[in-house]
């Protein structure tokens, strides 16, 4: 549906370098990356809103690289909803109709269905300023869907929403993607958002694509240290491999399968590392005594840093547990993690 070939864009401080991506029809594609990686620039390049320096963009087989946005058959949803503040909700939703040949009846039917599906029937006469974030995002979605675009581009559509609305909109997006033929192209800086939505995803870093693939692959098989830490594998260590064993510094860590090189990396998610005050015997092979050298507050969790010889492991602990175990900096503890929790690359 979308084919991006060797795209190069310079825009102020942002540049895209030789970006190539291919997205199949109906896919829910999520483009991730830290702030400033150039995700929005890529999205706006697809939309035709920034000048392209080199390369090509194909949408549905057509080369749209030099086409104005209105001819590309796309819809855009922004983080700030970008509803037209001077129009009522109904006029917002129907805004695009006059540019699409559509008989009145079909239009009215589609409108009715969207309003029902999105549950915004009670809002139609109101103006955007009186709506809540979740309602605004629903309307923005209805407006984009009203003209049945082939692609919907979403720029961090969930970031500005409260937790509750966020969940709501997430489910909605998923449902629409499944029940329609519309391709979704979403941009976010938050990997966890992608986890539940994406069928396919890519991770960007400094204007280039770092890795692309199914979300499950990215989550469990990051190919680089950058991607590993981006997908939340906070424990990334370079290692020497010897069969099923990896040597990190002076520690020997059991890994699920041998590596085909003698050197490489291992990565473990912090939530897979368990902390206990007592050493305990079990099937878990990777067990080390250590000392807490840092506790980082994360809402109702702590990220606890445990130094084992020269290696610092990061583990997640609920605050309740931390209080129960009297965890504090300097305390001696034991950590455990399964060999199957270790990712090797």
């Amino acid at each position: 549906m979308i084919d991006i070939r060797n795209l190069n864009v310079h825009l102020g401080e942002f540049r895209l370098r030789d970006v190539s991506l291919s997205i199949d029809p109906g896919e829910f594609f999520v483009l991730m990356g830290p702030t400033g990686a150039g995700k929005t620039v890529l999205l706006e390049a697809v939309a035709g809103l920034v000048p392209v320096l080199g390369g090509n963009i194909f949408i549905g087989g057509r080369d749209v690289t030099r086409m104005p946005p209105e001819e590309r058959g796309i819809g855009i949803m922004y983080q700030d909803y970008a509803l037209f503040p001077h129009l009522t909700i109904v006029r917002n939703i129907k805004y695009g109709l006059r540019y699409h040949r559509l008989d009145k009846e079909t239009a009215q039917k589609r409108f009715g269905r969207l309003v029902d599906d999105l549950g915004i029937g009670h809002l139609l006469k109101r103006y955007p300023e009186t709506l809540s974030g979740g309602e605004l995002q629903r309307v923005a979605l209805a407006r984009a869907l009203m003209v049945e675009p082939g692609i919907i581009l979403l720029d961090e559509p969930l970031s500005a929403l409260d937790q509750n609305f966020r969940e709501e909109i997430r489910l909605l997006l998923k449902k629409i993607n499944r029940s329609s033929h519309i391709t979704f192209f979403m941009v976010t800086h938050d990997f966890s958002e992608a986890l539940t939505l994406a069928t396919k995803a890519a991770i960007m870093c400094e204007g280039a694509i770092a890795q692309t693939g199914s979300i499950r692959d990215l989550f469990s098989k990051p190919a680089s240290t950058f991607v590993a830490s981006f997908v939340g594998m906070k424990n990334v260590f370079s290692a020497q491999f010897n069969g099923n064993q990896a040597c990190v510094d002076s520690l020997t860590i059991e890994v699920p399968q041998p590596h085909h090189h003698s050197t490489g990396y291992i990565a473990v998610r912090p939530e897979d590392i368990v902390i206990s005050l007592q050493p305990f015997e079990s099937s878990i092979r990777n067990a080390f005594p250590g000392m807490i050298c840092g506790m980082i507050d994360q809402g109702f969790l702590y990220e606890v840093h445990i130094r084992v010889r020269a290696v610092v492991f990061k583990s997640l602990v609920t605050k309740g547990a931390a209080i129960d175990l009297a965890l504090d900096i300097g305390a001696g503890v034991h950590i455990f993690f399964k060999a199957s929790a270790v990712h090797v690359f």
Partner: protein, 255 residues
């Protein structure tokens, strides 16, 4: 917060001073002519005609600024390019140029000795002593105020709204007409008011280009020179009252 300190009182006194400085002469002037005098002035056809001409020419200048200045203001608000500062400075130039010089400069290119003047004559357009000329002058002095006000207005509108509009199939033109302009109309109004205010008050540049037909400030000056303060004040009162009520009405529209 405790009692108001000395700082507050000094600022406050400055405020009173400024307001007095502005209001005292104006109020004195507005209240000086007797009611009879004011009524009599209102029966003078020349007065009515000049006030009407003032309003008409200032409105025309605002209209022209609107037509030509709006796209320019949009361009300046949306694009970044080298030399933008220079262009903005050029647009501000009419503010600095002494008023008679404005008139002289415009007459300079409108005469037969200049190719532009010759062109204009061929099309039967006369600048000197004509309503056209007055409008030209007023546009010259008023346009910067319109463009600056509107530029700020456009800058305040998120380009994302325009992006969304275009993604929905609207061309740049449709987008401007249906989204950008309706959102900016308050700035447009403020800009028009500023432009009108500046141009309706102009005298020096106009008197050089057109003594007749007489706009109100020229008539007021002429009365002042010819008949004295007493006869110029009532005209001034009417002009100021008419302008203020017009602007007030427009302002209320803009709220």
């Amino acid at each position: 917060m405790g009692r108001k300190g000395s700082f507050f009182w000094v600022s406050f006194s400055c405020g009173i001073m400024v307001l007095t400085f502005i209001l005292l002469p104006l109020v004195e002037m507005l209240t000086a002519p007797s009611g009879a005098m004011l009524r009599e002035t209102l029966q003078d056809r020349n007065v009515i005609r000049s006030i009407w001409l003032s309003i008409y020419t200032a409105a025309s200048a605002a209209g022209i600024s609107f037509l030509v200045g709006t796209p320019l203001a949009y361009l300046l608000a949306r694009s970044q390019f080298r030399g933008k500062h220079l262009i903005e400075s050029v647009i501000d130039l009419p503010i600095v140029i002494p008023h008679p010089v404005v008139g002289i400069a415009i007459l300079g290119v409108a005469g037969k000795n200049h190719w532009l003047g010759q062109y204009l004559q061929e099309f039967g357009i006369r600048i000197m002593g004509s309503t056209t000329g007055i409008i030209t002058v007023l546009t010259f002095v008023g346009m910067p105020f319109y463009i600056n006000a509107l530029k700020a207005g456009f800058e305040a509108i998120s380009p994302r709204l325009e992006n969304v509009s275009r993604s929905l199939g609207a061309s740049m033109w449709s987008t401007f007409v249906r989204v950008t302009f309706p959102l900016a109309w308050r700035s447009v109004l403020v800009g028009l008011i500023m432009c009108c205010a500046r141009s309706i008050s102009e005298f020096g540049a106009v008197v050089v280009v057109a003594y007749h037909p007489m706009i109100a400030p020229v008539l007021i000056y002429e009365r002042y020179e010819g008949y004295g303060l007493q006869y110029s004040q009532p005209v001034a009162v009417w002009l100021v009252l008419v302008c203020l009520s017009l602007f007030l009405a427009l302002r209320l529209l803009a709220l």
